[in-house]
Structure formats: structure tokens, C-alpha cells
């Protein structure tokens, strides 16, 4: 406080000096000083005059001083566009604009777009077209689009791609964003309502289920009123910062926090010694210290050493930087193979091996002996970051004897357990208050700042906010597992697969997180979605000194599918069999047995996926003039059985550009499986005003679960979807929905919601049957009302009848998915599998090695499309993320240090990387899924990388056995091929 006063005085003095100087030198008339004493600006039509704050950034002025929190900060490094606002008609990045530059300017933020509660057509179009998913990037997308439409009222697709080039969306709804902008432009010009999206309903649509419904949170997300955790401010709130180890492997010798304690604004500094409860957390294995204490082992650069709470964010960070730690450095284990070698340091007490995971079916040696061909190859995949747009944020608020934690988390009830353990409390004293989540993708399952914020809030008795910046996010949270995968494959000459043997090494980093589960999935899926009599798989889940690896969309199967689908293409080439035919021949069908001994009794839509992608390829390739211009093949439109769909073809007039298609299939389990009790609870309640609410502590991370929940409840109760509100992720108010992982929520929480609604309907029916003395079958629910004995009761009246009968119109349903068996016991390891096939068309620049993905056909067997609008977002987003992981993304570590520690260094796909995507929905229902549905969140991404790398091979004859495709390597390999051809 003192220093502030001093500083002010200096400022005043300086001002006088400057004024004098200017006046003397240039002899200028009057007050036109270079230094503004007041900051005047117009924001959303309102004039503000503010005191300038030295060093203030425009986004801080908008968010913190004017409380316009619709403007989001996702990177803080001018990379992502989320913070875009319009300044004097032009879009600018508010995260890198000095606030003082806004003097005299007119600014429009997302909050200023709707006029008198009338949404701007862009906002309406984003909602209608399903362009809104997690919503965190949406203010930036809309403001950038708004600026574009000001300049170009009827933009082309190219204009849109140019304008949105650096405005990133990790849900990657780029195609729907583009469609929404086109629709808005049309509406603005014609004055007509925004056109409906061209997205088909489910083939078996019901009243609500299977039709196009918008998200319940869409309006808030397009107007900027949606509140994410960092948008919350509590009275008397402190800000936290964490001192990270910064070294990958060491023992802590000494921690000196004295300077930090003395620093201005600091209220509390804590180390491991100050933790009242357990200094350990973890989702499956308790192996992750809350803080590393003196004498203890640091296992990765992101390990916490101390935590600070201070009056401001800046003070907390500055104080954390003053904490001195003395380390005794240890040799670093930088990959999984090294971790298993003899003589390596052991990172954990139990050693470096987290788990050896085995799949045993038949005897591969018998299969290889019978095989006509046997091939073997080793593949590598890197770690990936989720790069959800919203960095982690937790706010802990003490309330009497309890601790409230505001956080967007994928597993609220496990947050509660882990926070309570660290506080040494009964878990009922902790309440997780779920917030909107700006993307998760598996990266918000583990503890980030929840425990640290709670410890500081408990120690100070004040609310504490712990917000990660992008760098801390990249450093700390678990990644996708880097793997090494060896595949040996044996087949008969006719293509029948006989045996597969795989050996996997998975780098789970410093702590287990969900590593054991992820790598089990990698292992059980490592022989692809095929019927193979002999399969052995061995996976070594290894601890290393890299950042931990845990859940990430695809859950280990992305890695093994890349290896196996490459092998299938190699096999097809070796046997000179059509690669589509080879997959179709071996595809898992009803009656077949998986590698783990599960018989597919139903819902195995792989062949349908393969057939439909092939048909679509024939349609596209058949009408592709490029293919035929330089060949003698005859074709008749759409009916060209003899054309080679995978033929490489140069672009006429640009012969250095070669195009070709590639193909890949995959499967992915729905639900936890493996013997776990896969449970979700949901509660449905009818309110006095006739509306309903459905509640579950399942997580909404943008994927659209809340839409699914409201749709199934509306369906069961025959009311409009808009009549059903949804509440999720609150451990006091919503029943445990379990973790949001493993593509399980549509299935389990969808079922829990459906059955809760159905039970409520039965209760209403029983009450009215008694009240009106009618048999229950004479009571009909119809379009928001209930008909009984010639009466039509509104839901308000139904509520009154229930109350009058002494019935509480509220039902809690705990759903248990069908029983599964642990790995190794045969039988049903999983409740269902989703299947997919994709074809990708690439263009390789043979001069530079650059690769573009032009078109992707994506067929997914989802059982039943409950929410086709949300499904579209999942399919497109999955493909785009798959493009990223094939061509761009690489989380690089060197000797345990993170190289890709900024968003500018970890590249994710933008709209310019987005191919033309043709989604095909296959609906092969599963008996116990809600309306036949199974999971979709992960399968949509898994075939994309191998489809792309197979296409590159088909284009230029270079096979990639590691990701991402490296353009320089590709160029060298093409030149090598050329030399071989010449010699």
C-alpha cells in the first residue's frame, strides 16, 4: 500500500516535469500533453472516463474494470483471437493492446452486439447452426466475423477463411462457423430470418430425440453473458500463484520462502509442511504430491513446491518468483523405453513400471506359422496437449465449516474427494460448484488448482482464485501418452488375418493419472476392429520425468490405430488386395470375437461404415475430372467399379502438387468397462411453473451432454425441449454422474436422465389415475400437457395435482450399465463399441514437402443420433483435431524440459487447415443404450491420422511410421524414392 502512494507521488511530479518540458521546448499552447491524465473511451455505446493504470492491457480494462467478461483470454500471447474486440471499426487483440491506446476510441465487445435483447443475425446463426460448443472462443469468432461483415457484407468461403485464420477453436466447429457466417450474411442482406442448417435428423427421429435442437446454454455463449470460472469475482478475494519445480528430477534440499512472505501484498505462503491433510492425490493411483516437501522427490518440471496467496495476481506471481529452492539434481528419464532399461533410477517407490498390461487370445506363433505373409514394424507417436481454449481456473471460497470450489471439472465428485483429503476433512464439507468449461477433451479430469486454492482459502479464511496462464497449463496438466508400438501381423494370401502381436511402450510421465486405463485401451484395441484368431499384446506403462500423461480424447486408441491401420495398408499392398476389401473381409461383425474374448452380439456397424465411405468416395472420385484427364480409364457417372480410388494424380498446371486418397477404420469402447461399476445418477423434477429440471454431476465441456439430457427428458415426458432446464456438475445439488470420460455420458447419464424422466412420468400417471379414477393406459402425455378423461392438464396443473396428492414431483434414478468383465477374463469387457471409417484426400507439394488435407469422409456408427446438431460438431471437430495430430501437433520435451511451452509453439489446426468434411451417420443401435445410442466423442478422431498418412503414401510413396508428418523428412524421402527409381 505504501509503495502505491509513493508511486503516485512520483507520477505527479513527473507529470509536472513533462508538462513544463513540453511547454518550454515546443512552445505548445496548452493541455495537449503526451501523457493522458484521463482515459476516455466509448464501449458498447457507453462513455467512460477512467484513471489510467500503468501497464494496463485493454483486456484487463474491459474484464476487470468494466466487468465485460465476455471478452476471453485463452493464450495471452496474441495467438488465438479469443480476446478480439472491435476498436474504431477494426478487430484487434485486446490481450496485447495497451489500454491507454484506447483513449478516444470506440470499442465494441461481444456484449454490445445484441440490441435491446434482439440477437444480431451472427449470434442467431451461430446458435442455429451448432457453431457454439464449449463457447469459450465464440466471442472472438463472432467479433472477428462481425468485422468481416462490416467490410464484406457477402463474404465468400475464402474471405471467411482469410479473416478467421488466427481465431482458434479447439472444439473445431470451423465448418459450422463458416456456414453460420454465410447464413448471417444472407439474413443481413435479405432481411429474412437466418436460414436453417443443412443437417439431417436421425433416420429414426422421435418427437424430440433425433431432431435438431439448440444447446440450452447457447444464448449466453453468443452474447458474452456466459460465466466461466475466471469471470467470477468474490468479495475480499485473494489471488494464488504456484512455485513450480522447474527441474524434471531432483530431491528438494531446502526451500526458502522468507522473501516471498515479506513481499508486498502477500497474505500467505504455504509449503508441503503446511498441508493439514494428505499430501497426495490421484485419480486411480495416489502418487501425486500436492506439494513436494524438503527431502522429497521432484518428478517433473510442473511439480508444486510452494503456493502463495496475495492481494493481486501480479503480487502473487512476483512473490512466487522470490521463493528459493535448493535441489539435488537427479538423472532424467526422458522416455518410456529408457525407463524400463536396467540400471535406470526408479522414480517411484514401486519402480518405473506402472503396469504391464497383457492381452492373450490364442497363440500368435501358430498363426504366424500358418501365414503366407508376416510383416513387422515399429511406430512412434508423440505427446499431445489438449489445448482447451479455457486455461484451468479454480476459486475456493470458505463458507462456515465448508469449502466451496468453483471449477470446470470433468469429474466433480473426485475433485471433492481429493480436495477433502488434502484439507483432512470429511468430503461432505467440500462442495464442488461446477462452472461452464471452455473445453476439456480429457485434460480436466485431474486436479489442477483445486487443492491449492482450497488450502490457501482455508489458511486465510478468504476466497482464493488460482488461474493458470497458458504456459502453466502447458507445463502442468497431463498430456496424451507418447508411445512406441511394434506390430507383427500375419495373414493368408487371400487377406484373412491370422495373428497379431503388439508390443507397446506408453510414457505416462511423472504420475499415473489415468495412465493405466488409457494404456489398457491402447492395448486391447491394438489389433484394430478386426476378427483375428491369435492376438497377443504387451504394454509397458512407464513412469518418466516428463509431464504426466492421462486422458485425452481417443484414450490410447488413437496411437494404436495409427500403427495398426498403417500395417493393414502395407498388408494390402503386399498381397495386392484392395485395401477397402481387406478391411471389409476382416471387419468385426455380429458373432465375431474381439481380442479380449468379447462376442459382438449386436451393434457392429463397421461394415456399413466401410461400405458408405467407399460409395461416397466413388461418387466424389467418379466426378473428379483430375483423375481421368491423364488416363484411359472409362467411367460412367457414379458407377465406376474399376477405377482405382487411391490413384495418385498431379494437379493439372501444377504438376508438383500430387493428390491421393487414404483410408482407415477404427473402433472405440463406450463406457468404463473392464469390470468397473459404470454408474450415473440423474434427478428430474417438475416445478410449479410447469417446467422441468434434470440434474446430474456429469460434465458439460462443450460436447453437448446438456442438450442430450434435456432432449431425452423432453422425449420421455412429451414436452418441448425448451421446457427442460439442465443443471450439472454440482456435488451438493446434482447426483454423481461419474467421470466424463470414455465416451460414456450419452450412454450412462443419457440413460439415467431417460429413466428418471420415465419414472416421473409413471408417478404422474399413477397419481392422475387415482385422482380421476381412470386406468393408467387412459392417461396420455401429449405436447406439454396430460390428457385424462377428457381433461387436458397443463404441467402447472399436474404439479398441483401431485402436490395435492402429497407426492413430490421429483425422481432420482441411479443407472448402472450392464456388467462387464475385467481384462483377462474373457466375456464382455465393454458395454458397447462405436465404429468408424474415414477416407482422407491429401495434396503433397513435392517441391517443399508441405501437405494439405483437402477432403475427409467420416462415417461413424453411433448407435442412434440423439442430438444430430451436437453430433455434427463432434464429427467435424474430431476430424480437425485428427488433422492436427497427423500434421501439426507435437508436444516436445527435451530431457524432461518442455520445449512447446507457449501456444505459439504448440500449433493446433485453424480454419485454414480444415478440409471439406462429409459426415455420414451410421445408426446400428445397441440394446441398452438410450434409444440405441452409444458413445461418439472419441471415435470421430481416431481414424483421421492413419487415413491421412495412408493418403500421403498413396500420393508419393512415402510411409510415415511416426507422427506428426514432418515436411522436411517427407521431402527427403521423396527425393530418395526418385533416386531409387532412376537407378
Amino acid at each position: 500500500m505504501k509503495s502505491k502512494g509513493l508511486f503516485k507521488r512520483q507520477k505527479v511530479l513527473l507529470k509536472i516535469v513533462l508538462r513544463l518540458r513540453t511547454a518550454l521546448r515546443s512552445g505548445r499552447k496548452n493541455g495537449e500533453n503526451m501523457k493522458k491524465t484521463q482515459l476516455s473511451l466509448t464501449v458498447n455505446g457507453q462513455n467512460y472516463t477512467l484513471d489510467p493504470i500503468p501497464g494496463e492491457i485493454l483486456s484487463d480494462l474491459l474484464r476487470k474494470r468494466l466487468h465485460l467478461t465476455g471478452t476471453k483470454i485463452a493464450c495471452g500471447e496474441a495467438e488465438c483471437g479469443a480476446c478480439t474486440v472491435i476498436m474504431d471499426g477494426e478487430p484487434v487483440l485486446s490481450c496485447s493492446t495497451p489500454a491507454e491506446r484506447a483513449h478516444g476510441k470506440t470499442i465494441t465487445t461481444i456484449e454490445g452486439l445484441a440490441k435491446q435483447d434482439q440477437l444480431h443475425p451472427l449470434q442467431t446463426a451461430f446458435i442455429k447452426h451448432g457453431a457454439v460448443q464449449c463457447g469459450f472462443c465464440i466471442p472472438g469468432q463472432i467479433m472477428t466475423s462481425y468485422a468481416l461483415l462490416q467490410k464484406k457484407p457477402r463474404p465468400t468461403s475464402d474471405d471467411i477463411r482469410h479473416a478467421l485464420k488466427d481465431t482458434l477453436c479447439r472444439c473445431a466447429g470451423y465448418p459450422t462457423i463458416e456456414n453460420a457466417i454465410l447464413a448471417a450474411a444472407e439474413s443481413l442482406e435479405t432481411g429474412q430470418a437466418v436460414a436453417e442448417p443443412q443437417i439431417p435428423a436421425s433416420a429414426t427421429q422421435a418427437a424430440t430425440v433425433g431432431t435438431l435442437k439448440v444447446r440450452p446454454d447457447a444464448v449466453e455463449k453468443v452474447t458474452g453473458s456466459a460465466i466461466f470460472t475466471d469471470d467470477l469475482i468474490f468479495e475480499n478475494m485473494l489471488f494464488a500463484a504456484v512455485k513450480r519445480a522447474g527441474v524434471p528430477h531432483a530431491f528438494v534440499k531446502k526451500i526458502n520462502v522468507e522473501k516471498a512472505r515479506q513481499a508486498a501484498g502477500v497474505v500467505r505462503v504455504m509449503t508441503a509442511a503446511d498441508i493439514p491433510g494428505e499430501n497426495i492425490h490421484g485419480l486411480v493411483t495416489l502418487d501425486w504430491p500436492v506439494m513436494v516437501g524438503v527431502g522429497e522427490r521432484v518428478r517433473y518440471v510442473g511439480d508444486a513446491i510452494a503456493i502463495v496467496a496475495a492481494e493481486t495476481q501480479e503480487a502473487a506471481k512476483a512473490a512466487a518468483a522470490l521463493i528459493e529452492v535448493e535441489f539435488e539434481l537427479q538423472p532424467v528419464i526422458s522416455d518410456a523405453v529408457q525407463a524400463r532399461q536396467e540400471g535406470q533410477p526408479q522414480i517411484h517407490e514401486k519402480g518405473n513400471l506402472l503396469k504391464h498390461i497383457k492381452v492373450r487370445k490364442g497363440d500368435p506363433e501358430i498363426g504366424f506359422a500358418q501365414a503366407d505373409v508376416v510383416l513387422e514394424h515399429t511406430f512412434h507417436t508423440p505427446a499431445h496437449d489438449h489445448l482447451f481454449m479455457e486455461p484451468e481456473c479454480s476459486i475456493a471460497v470458505p463458507e462456515g465449516e465448508r469449502m466451496l470450489v468453483y471449477v470446470g471439472s470433468q469429474i466433480p465428485y473426485q475433485d471433492r474427494t481429493q480436495v477433502a483429503a488434502a484439507l483432512g476433512w470429511d468430503e461432505n464439507r467440500v462442495r464442488i460448484v461446477g462452472q461452464l468449461m471452455g473445453g476439456g477433451f480429457g485434460g480436466k479430469e485431474d486436479i489442477a488448482g483445486q487443492i491449492h486454492a482450497a488450502l490457501l482459502a482455508n489458511a486465510t479464511g478468504r476466497p482464493v482464485k488460482l488461474l493458470f496462464d497458458r504456459q502453466e497449463s502447458l507445463l502442468v496438466h497431463p498430456k496424451r501418452h507418447a508411445t512406441q508400438i511394434k506390430v507383427k501381423l500375419g495373414a493368408k494370401r487371400d487377406g484373412t488375418l491370422l495373428a497379431a502381436k503388439t508390443e507397446l511402450y506408453g510414457d505416462t510421465g511423472a504420475y499415473a493419472s489415468l495412465g493405466e486405463k488409457v494404456l489398457t485401451r491402447a492395448t486391447t484395441h491394438s489389433a484394430g476392429p478386426y476378427k483375428i484368431p491369435h492376438v497377443h499384446a504387451d504394454c509397458y506403462a512407464m513412469y518418466t520425468n516428463n509431464p504426466p500423461a492421462g486422458a485425452f480424447r481417443g484414450f490410447g486408441v488413437l496411437q494404436s490405430a495409427f500403427a495398426f491401420e498403417t500395417m493393414i495398408d502395407k498388408l494390402a499392398e503386399m498381397l495386392e488386395i484392395d485395401r477397402i476389401e481387406l478391411r471389409r473381409k476382416n471387419a468385426l461383425r455380429v458373432g465375431d470375437e474381439t481380442s479380449t474374448g468379447q462376442i459382438m452380439r449386436e451393434s457392429a456397424g463397421l461394415v456399413e461404415c466401410i461400405d458408405k465411405v467407399e460409395a461416397e468416395m466413388k461418387r466424389l472420385v467418379g466426378s473428379d475430372k483430375l483423375l481421368f484427364e491423364n488416363s484411359n480409364v472409362e467411367y460412367s457417372n457414379n458407377e465406376s467399379p474399376n477405377i482405382d480410388l487411391f490413384k495418385a494424380r498431379p494437379v493439372p498446371g501444377a504438376e508438383h502438387l500430387i493428390r491421393a486418397w487414404g483410408f482407415a477404420s477404427a473402433f472405440k469402447n463406450t463406457g468404463l468397462g473392464g469390470g468397473a461399476d459404470d454408474t450415473s445418477g440423474a434427478e428430474v423434477e417438475l416445478y410449479e411453473d410447469g417446467s422441468f429440471q434434470v440434474r446430474s454431476a456429469a460434465a458439460e465441456l462443450g460436447q453437448g451432454l446438456v442438450t442430450v439430457m434435456r432432449m431425452v427428458v423432453a422425449e420421455e415426458l412429451s414436452v418441448a425441449a425448451e421446457q427442460v432446464a439442465v443443471l450439472v456438475m454440482d456435488t451438493d445439488l446434482t447426483p454423481n454422474g461419474g467421470p466424463t470420460t470414455a465416451s460414456r455420458q450419452t450412454y450412462v447419464t443419457g440413460n439415467a436422465s431417460r429413466l428418471a424422466a420415465k419414472t416421473l412420468r409413471e408417478a404422474i400417471t399413477a397419481t392422475l389415475a387415482e385422482r380421476y379414477d381412470q386406468p393408467p393406459e387412459k392417461i396420455h402425455f401429449n405436447e406439454g400437457s396430460v390428457r385424462v378423461n377428457g381433461h387436458s392438464l397443463t404441467m402447472q396443473e399436474v404439479y398441483k395435482e401431485m402436490k395435492a396428492a402429497g407426492k413430490n414431483p421429483r425422481v432420482l434414478y441411479e443407472y448402472h450399465a450392464p456388467e462387464t468383465k475385467p481384462l483377462g477374463q474373457g466375456g464382455d469387457m465393454h458395454i458397447a463399441f462405436s465404429f468408424a471409417t474415414q477416407a482422407a484426400e491429401v495434396e503433397v507439394n513435392t517441391d517443399t514437402g508441405e501437405v494439405r488435407v483437402l477432403r475427409v469422409i467420416s462415417a461413424n456408427d453411433v448407435g442412434r443420433a440423439i442430438n444430430p446438431l451436437g453430433l455434427r460438431g463432434q464429427v467435424e471437430g474430431g476430424v480437425v483435431m485428427g488433422v492436427g495430430q497427423a500434421l501439426l501437433e507435437n508436444f516436445i520435451t527435451k530431457d524432461g524440459m518442455v520445449v512447446t511451452d507457449h501456444m505459439s509453439r504448440y500449433r493446433i489446426p485453424s480454419i485454414v487447415h480444415t478440409p471439406e468434411i462429409t459426415p455420414i451417420i451410421v445408426e446400428d443401435p445397441t440394446k441398452d443404450g438410450p434409444y440405441g445410442a452409444k458413445g461418439v466423442g472419441e471415435i470421430v478422431l481416431i481414424p483421421t491420422p492413419p487415413a491421412i498418412t495412408n493418403a500421403i503414401y498413396n500420393a508419393v510413396g512415402v510411409r510415415f511410421d511416426s507422427l506428426p508428418v514432418d515436411q522436411e523428412q517427407l521431402l527427403w524421402a521423396m527425393e530418395e524414392n526418385k533416386r531409387e527409381l532412376l537407378s
Binding site: P54, A78, V92, A163, P964, Q967
Partner: protein, 289 residues
């Protein structure tokens, strides 16, 4: 603790130069600030006391024909350069290079002056300008001077501008009949996504002959590189496959490429530079018809 303490917004170049000389140090100029803000926020730039904002100076935002030359103020943001009919006519390589920088949000703020003053050896806008024989106007406390653009660079990130000097703008020769320019670059998409090579070419055509050529390449060496030997080789040659091949050889002999970790090897840059040279020359050749 704050990134800066004083923020000055001069209205004239004179005021700016005086502010830089007399404000509490360290005092540095800020134009678009798209790089500087990040560098300050991430601690890559030493803390400063005073920021002198140049964007309010009308003279530095001028874009006009002046005495037979094209003047582009150092404070003109990239989007105005890209959209300017004058620049489109007289400096295509600059339009192309400035159009590739960032997204529209960055282009609205980032200025050509900032691109040059930052002195990185491969900044797109600067390379696009370097091939055009631009001259820079620099204001200092002792007055103004004109200086060839390439003299402004001392090393990677090191400008020849003094702490109290301001880059006012650039003078470019107007394009004459049968003159044209073009710019190309290659990005590395994987991992650390940064441009790995860029190249701008200007040429004058005389029927089927190249009368004169100017070529700028980045990064080749610590400062932006003008390929003088290649330019000399091309002058007076008939535009043909052999001439291009000869130019490619000359360029490979005179340019110095290095390997940068996680971006590109020197060998890859050598592969790319011949492709970029051919593409830029061919485009400029067509345009110069």
C-alpha cells in the same frame, strides 16, 4: 511490477524524438506493439519505464505518392498496406508479404515500421520491402536522414536505430513499365510453427530479357540478406529454364543457411530456396509483361 510506468502519446515525430531522449529511461517506442507487448509480458524484453506510442502521429500513418516516390509511413498497419491500391500497383511483394502476417487482428495493429525496427532476419514484411530498394527516413534529435533499408540491421533483433531515433517511413521507387515484384514463403506446420524461409524478388523485363533483378532472402545470416551476386547474374540474361537454374546455383553459393532446432535444417532451406526463387521470379516475370 507493471509492464511500464509511463505511456506517452506524442502527436508529432518531433515530440516523439524528444520524449525518447528525455523521458525517464528506459524509454522505447511502441508502434503496433504486437511483438513488444508479448515480449514484455513474457519477460523476453527488459522492463521499461516509458513507452512512447507512435500510432497517433499523423505523418507516420501517411501512405501517398511524394515527389515521384511511394511513401509508406512507418506507423501504417499491415492491413492498410494490403488494401492500398497504391501499394498494390507499386509494391506487390509488399502486399503479399504483409498479407501473410498473422490474422486480421494482428495486421490491424502491427506496422511495417515495427517489422523493420525489430530487425529479425526473416520478418515477412521487411523482406518484401527489402527487394524494392526502399530507403528509410529516420528522425533523430539532430534532424532527419535518409538511409538505405539494409543499413538498419546490425544482427538478429539488433537495429542500427539509436535509442532516441524514430523510423518515420519508407520511400519506394514507383513501378515503371515492365517492372514487377513477388513474395513467397514456406512455413513449417509441425510443432513450433514458424516461417522457415521467405524470399522476395523484383525484376525489370525487356522483352524476353531480364534487365535488372533485386532479391531478398530471410533468414540467411544474422541480417536480412540481399542476393547481390544472383542479381548480377540475372541482369541481362534471357528469361529461361537455364537462366533460372544458373540463378539458383548462384544463390546457393552466396546464401548462408543454418540449421535451427525444431524448425529446419540448412539442407532443407537450400532445397526450399531454389523453389522459392523460381516461383518468385516466374510470378514477377509474368506480372512484368
Amino acid at each position: 511490477m507493471s509492464l511500464w510506468k509511463e505511456y506517452l502519446q506524442p502527436q508529432t515525430v518531433q515530440e516523439a524524438v524528444e520524449a525518447l531522449a528525455s523521458a525517464p529511461p528506459p524509454a522505447i517506442p511502441i508502434a503496433g506493439g504486437t511483438d513488444l507487448m508479448i515480449d514484455l509480458q513474457q519477460g523476453h524484453h527488459a522492463p521499461v519505464h516509458t513507452l512512447v506510442d507512435l500510432t497517433g502521429i499523423a505523418e507516420m500513418r501517411a501512405l501517398e505518392i511524394r515527389a515521384g516516390q511511394l511513401f509508406i509511413g512507418a506507423g501504417v498497419p499491415h492491413n492498410r498496406i494490403v488494401e492500398s491500391a497504391l501499394v498494390q500497383e507499386h509494391a506487390q511483394s509488399l502486399v503479399e508479404s504483409c498479407g501473410l502476417i498473422g490474422g486480421p487482428q494482428v495486421r490491424n495493429s502491427a506496422t511495417l515500421g515495427g517489422n523493420v525496427a525489430h530487425a529479425l532476419p526473416a520478418a515477412d514484411g521487411m523482406i518484401g520491402l527489402l527487394a524494392l530498394e526502399a530507403e528509410a527516413q529516420v528522425a533523430s534529435p539532430s534532424g532527419r536522414r535518409l538511409q538505405p533499408l539494409h543499413e538498419l540491421f546490425l544482427g538478429p533483433g539488433k537495429t542500427a536505430l539509436k535509442a532516441d531515433e524514430v523510423l518515420v517511413g519508407f520511400y519506394l521507387p514507383l513501378i515503371k513499365a515492365h517492372q514487377a515484384s513477388a513474395f513467397c514463403r514456406v512455413m513449417r506446420a509441425q510443432g513450433i510453427a514458424l516461417p522457415i524461409l521467405n524470399l522476395a524478388a523484383w525484376l525489370e523485363r525487356d522483352g524476353e530479357t531480364i534487365r535488372a533483378a533485386q532479391i531478398a532472402v530471410g533468414p540467411s545470416g544474422p541480417v536480412p540478406f540481399r542476393a547481390r551476386q544472383t542479381e548480377a547474374f540475372l541482369a541481362g540474361k534471357v528469361f529461361s529454364a537455364e537462366t533460372i537454374a544458373g540463378a539458383q546455383e548462384t544463390l546457393l553459393a552466396e546464401a548462408k543457411f543454418r540449421t535451427s532446432a525444431a524448425r529446419a535444417t540448412a539442407e532443407y532451406r537450400r532445397e526450399l530456396v531454389v523453389v522459392l526463387l523460381k516461383n518468385a521470379l516466374s510470378t514477377a516475370w509474368e506480372r512484368a509483361k
